[in-house]
Symmetry: C2
Subunit: 374 residues, 2 copies
């Protein structure tokens, strides 16, 4: 294959964004050949933008069966991601799926299992993994510069949303429509980066979610979570859509120092000698290891969505390693599922979570809700 | 009275510090007339520093009964604060007590009740309440500039202590000797400021303390706590003695903006219109109220210990209002007791705490410990 023939399912806000940079030729080795959407208005928009040569479908299966495409970008509502991905895998089509991977890990696990039986490429649209500032943090962790991780702390409260935003779609912020609130809709990137940058998943989670606290919605709009990792490290994640101007501050503490990412800047406080070694040899009572404040250069800008798209295309054409392998989408989702489940049980939740139990709780909330719009 | 005759109980590190500024004449209206310590070496140090005219006692009651003093500064180990304060109150002597007020709230409540029967002045040595940066935050809250409080978040991890520090005294970091770790020894100022600046005590506490996690000690050296307030606000408090360089960052979010105190600087993000009002009237989907980043001037420096001492003396002589009334010492202590109890019970703890239950747990740990040194 020298060129990937791409189809897009979902021509909503996200789908339109992807179409724009593809149409502008900002990704090489790929041609947009087909789009699919249930809404006539979205297909009409596509026709006006793309002309007659790009095929238009109302039925995803018709597009998948057309023989005209090699790969699919899925940009539909959250719940449908696994089902549509599986339909692609069954036809041996490569898949790039928007975040989140799905709403509950049971369906995402089935998606991952379906992919394992194929030889196609499968990627998540985690377009913050291409952000050089988070790549640099991962570099400092992976290379051992930060030492063993002791603590993580992410305050991500700059997701301000008004009631007017929530009222703009009947499916918004409902259990049936989105399956969650700030954790499912706003935080998937941070939840992914939180585990990806330090290469550790929490071992257990104790979280405190509030539902419709700041807005007239039924899902969570305010969350504080505490986690423990296998190596004894602990972490805190604080998020809400109810505050402004909000904060986006990610702190990671290791045995050899501390990193803070805030306001687009990464600062590394580097211990000349690891804390463990210093503590072992020091006999002077009060004292601490020498510490250097390092401003670490962040080279380049985030290629963002088109960076992930290019990587996906290169993976198909040249077997380039994926930046955001699709099967890793379950990780951030499991953390968010665990936070909800911990709140519902008012107790600790061990990882991996009891997927059946989570789904029972979710289905119960969907059944009890007056908002059935999908 | 035109001049306060002061006696000091406890000529250890803290007591010596107080003696130095008193001897230098940095507080007016007070004369140091007596000191008391069990250790001959400390009394010898006092004799060399202060000369013969300052009386020296080994027995606190002998000093309190001498008729030579009007007021007492108590700078002894934590456990003895309530008992010594009560002895002073019984003799109608004014009391200024070092932090913490005591180790468990039951004993501190008895101290407060003994004081209520007197007409003497009673103050805590909360020398961070005189820090103009925290006074400014309190001013912004009290004056309504910040609006109703939504969230507090204090990361106070710059209390690095080595094993060598803990090994420097057999009473250090033991249940019998100090009755707690980082919460009792390092954090009392922050625990007091946390409730004083926002004028709210938590309604319930869910905390995660780790005991001897970073050092070979039996008390807590790593704590993350989550709290709920009566008005629906939430808060997080993260502290440890095991990290370096550590962080001291206090964020308070209100309906009218956000304040962050870090690196000796206070920044106020001021919403021109309250979030509540904006949300009520806004119909545009995505949007947020206009926000100004304000650098608020912090005038003056912290007079610190001598500021509290001067205030205490002025209260006695001129009825000046106390900055840190003694009966408020129970507040920060109750928060720290609640954090320990929540960990021991692995559950929520409602405020005010069950004091008997806390004390039972504490006494059990003292009984089971090999470290009985007081």
């Amino acid at each position: 294959m020298q060129n990937v023939r791409l189809g897009i399912i979902g021509v909503g806000n996200m789908g339109k964004g992807h179409i724009r940079y593809l149409q502008a030729g900002e990704v090489t080795g790929v041609t947009l050949v087909a789009v699919c959407d249930k809404l006539e208005s979205n297909l009409k928009w596509a026709e006006e933008q793309l002309g007659e040569q790009v095929l238009r479908y109302a039925d995803p299966n018709a597009m998948l069966d057309s023989g005209e495409i090699d790969a699919v970008l899925i940009a539909t509502p959250h719940y449908s991601h696994p089902e549509l991905s599986i339909a692609c895998f069954e036809r041996n089509l490569h898949v790039l799926v928007e975040k989140p991977a799905g709403v509950y890990t049971k369906q995402v696990r089935e998606m991952n299992e379906a992919w394992e039986k194929t030889n196609v490429k499968f990627s998540m649209m985690y377009n913050q993994r291409t952000n050089p500032i988070y790549q640099k943090l991962k570099d400092l962790v992976d290379s051992g510069e930060l030492g063993e991780i002791r603590r993580t702390n992410w305050i991500i409260t700059n997701w301000y949303r008004t009631q007017s935003y929530y009222d703009s779609g009947s499916w918004r912020a409902t259990w049936a429509g989105e399956g969650g609130g700030v954790l499912l809709n706003q935080d998937p990137h941070q939840l992914d980066l939180w585990q990806w940058t330090v290469d550790m998943m929490p071992k257990r989670v104790r979280a405190f979610c509030y539902f419709g606290k700041h807005r007239n919605i039924e899902v969570e709009d305010d969350v504080t979570a505490f986690v423990e990792y296998e190596n004894g490290a602990t972490g805190v994640f604080v998020t809400t859509t109810g505050e402004t101007p909000g904060t986006n501050r990610y702190e990671v503490v290791g045995d050899r120092g501390k990193v803070v990412i805030e306001d687009g800047k990464l600062t590394f406080w580097r211990l000349r000698e690891s804390e463990t070694e210093f503590n072992k040899r020091f006999t002077g009572g009060f004292g601490s290891p020498e510490c250097w404040t390092c401003e670490v250069p962040i080279v380049g800008t985030n290629p963002d969505h088109k960076g992930i798209m290019q990587n996906f295309v290169n993976a198909i054409l040249h077997d380039e390693p994926l930046i955001a392998p699709g099967e890793e989408g379950i990780k951030g989702l499991m953390i968010s599922n665990a936070m909800l489940l911990s709140t519902w049980l008012d107790d600790w939740v061990d990882m991996p979570i009891d997927e059946e139990l989570f789904n029972e709780h979710l289905q119960k909330r969907i059944a009890e809700s007056p908002n059935k719009g999908g």
